[in-house]
Symmetry: C2
Subunit: 364 residues, 2 copies
């Protein structure tokens, strides 16, 4: 076939995005085709830099051009990304492409740990990432990012005070922990906590972000309601541990997001503290908190199961030391990277197939 722009486009229209189940041309993912003798250049704009299928799609493009245009061409796809969004016309934070809530129902299952590590993994992939610590009474993010003593600057914009998030490891962070002394209990009723969250969303200079994660407190109360009433949330990630009492609460969190008035899509489920393996007995798995409960719950509610994280002392240590486990190469970082890619993928799928979430009007 003749080596023309048109024929290259025809060839690339045979390549499918396996997630979005449409071809790259229809998806407007091909840009800047140029032909230089035997060499073909073009750009593939993926839906996320954390795309786990990058290599697969790249090879599919090369193969398609060899097959449908000319087997002797040298093909140089330039793989980039442009994170998709359903929020670009949102009144609040239109430059934040996706807002992802991390919830569990149950306390202590690892919401903050998962939030911190996914933020790091997503940022490492090249995405612009922010993280709101919405746990007003038990903020863990400052400790987990080793910035407990930072104090955010405040600037005035149009007579309004705007908080500049703390930036650590390339991630923009806000937490009540930055605004109150560490040994002080914040003993507030719901409305005070809610107004702190509203500030973290609306009065904070988030700039342009691909993913803004919101690390929620346990429960299904004021903070959760205020979140969905303040901003349309792209989707929720459920974190659970495998035992019955945790699954019961995870189920309640799922139920909350699925309530017709709330209606936040659930992007996936992560099972944390899945098992413990002592270094001395590398083949033994101790299912201290039970076995397989996360997977079963994801099946019951038809939620994508994004993976398991075992109970690993170094995950806890990195949390306490303020240096998320994802930052050190190894199996733990790989596990979080894998989950972050699957999450980014679910965001892209959600954005391709569903309208933007609607902000919730008063419920109660």
């Amino acid at each position: 076939m003749a080596i023309t722009q048109d024929n290259i486009i025809k060839a690339l229209s045979k390549v499918q995005d396996p997630d979005l189940k449409k071809d790259l041309v229809t998806l407007n993912m091909i840009e800047d085709i140029s032909i230089d003798g035997n060499a073909i250049y073009f750009t593939v704009v993926l839906t996320t830099p954390a795309c786990p299928l990058k290599e697969l799609i790249k090879n599919d493009c090369i193969d398609a051009i060899h097959k449908y245009v000319d087997a002797d061409l040298q093909v140089f796809p330039n793989m980039t990304s442009n994170v998709t969004s359903t929020r670009s016309t949102a009144p609040l934070l239109p430059n934040v492409r996706n807002i992802i809530a991390i919830a569990s129902g149950k306390g202590g299952v690892g919401k903050s740990t998962v939030s911190a590590n996914l933020a790091v993994s997503l940022a490492q992939s090249g995405a612009k990432v922010g993280l709101i610590d919405a746990d007003i009474f038990g903020p863990s993010i400052p400790t987990m990012f080793n910035c407990e003593h930072e104090q955010p600057e405040v600037k005035e914009v149009n007579g309004k005070n705007i908080i500049i998030p703390i930036e650590q490891y390339g991630i923009k962070l806000i937490s009540i922990g930055f605004l109150t002394p560490p040994d002080n209990a914040v003993v507030w009723r719901g409305p005070m906590a809610s107004s702190a969250l509203k500030q973290f969303i609306g009065d904070t200079d988030w700039g342009e972000l691909d993913y803004l994660l919101i690390d929620l407190p346990p429960g299904t109360s004021d903070i959760h309601l205020t979140m969905v009433q303040t901003i349309p949330v792209t989707g929720a990630l459920i974190v659970t541990t495998p035992q019955k009492v945790a699954l019961a609460d995870a189920q309640k969190a799922v139920g909350m997001f699925k309530q017709p008035q709330i209606n936040v899509p659930i992007l996936g489920l992560v099972e944390n503290m899945a098992y413990f393996t002592p270094e001395e007995l590398p083949d033994n798995k101790y299912f201290i908190f039970g076995e397989g409960g996360g997977y079963k719950l994801s099946e019951k509610y038809n939620i994508p199961f994004l993976g398991q994280i075992p109970l690993v002392q170094s995950i806890r240590e990195s949390g306490d030391n303020g240096y998320p486990a994802s930052m050190k190469e190894g199996v733990t970082a790989d596990a979080f990277k894998d989950i972050s890619e699957k999450l980014a993928r679910q965001v892209a799928i959600r954005n391709a197939n569903m309208a933007g979430t609607t902000k919730v009007e008063m419920i109660n």
Copy 2:
């Protein structure tokens, strides 16, 4: 010395209660002395049936009579108890002798597990025990007591609906889990949750109790404030795990109870999930969540350290199965029994040395 009532009283006035640091006669703990030839009978009324010093005090009584009255007497102390209280004139629940809040700040550290097991241990000692599950959004008590499908009866008293607690394993229980379907999320703002708690305290037929435990949710918010504003709490038990992020939140819980307007005495601290020991390596302790943090915190705030509970799969399993670990004989039950005795002791010490807690007036 002559074998008379007076001389027996004199002898027993040499016996100290090691906790209360006064002698048994001054403490009004001796009743019903009778002399039958060579045999001496009397009753020692301890401050709690869970008194860990029962045998010690009993032997001290026998020794004192042998020493100060006659070495040949046969002494038969009848050890009973009458749980002390500072609440007998309280307007709400005057027949509930002691109200103990179980708090942590942090989620998932084992508040509910510790509450359930201490309730069982205290009841096994002979005390009358009730347990309020104050976690409206993540109630675990129905599962942990295998009564998820129970529905409490309601009776009308003076035109008011009064809830009859569910009784399981000899413990009176109330939980939002008895009143809502298990897969339903209770998505309420604070005031609704607070009014549920008020009902659990004021509109529930608790009858006469030695100890009413309140299993709190994580955080330091509406439920906590409503509790201290509804009823004067005898004291609080802090549960924590050893890692930094948990200790930080435990510290916030301590800070809350110590606030001058709240001022609830802290009875003790329990370190849960202290270490893990695989069955195959009984000498290895894996300090997955860190080492010694609970003890350090108790020293910092001068709180009685009541003990450690290791991470044990059967504790989790008994939670999920609804049959608290304390009910099966073994090291775990012994550990909880020991903590329950220390707790009961701290309650007695507190009641002997401090005035009743005052109900908190509106803070915010």
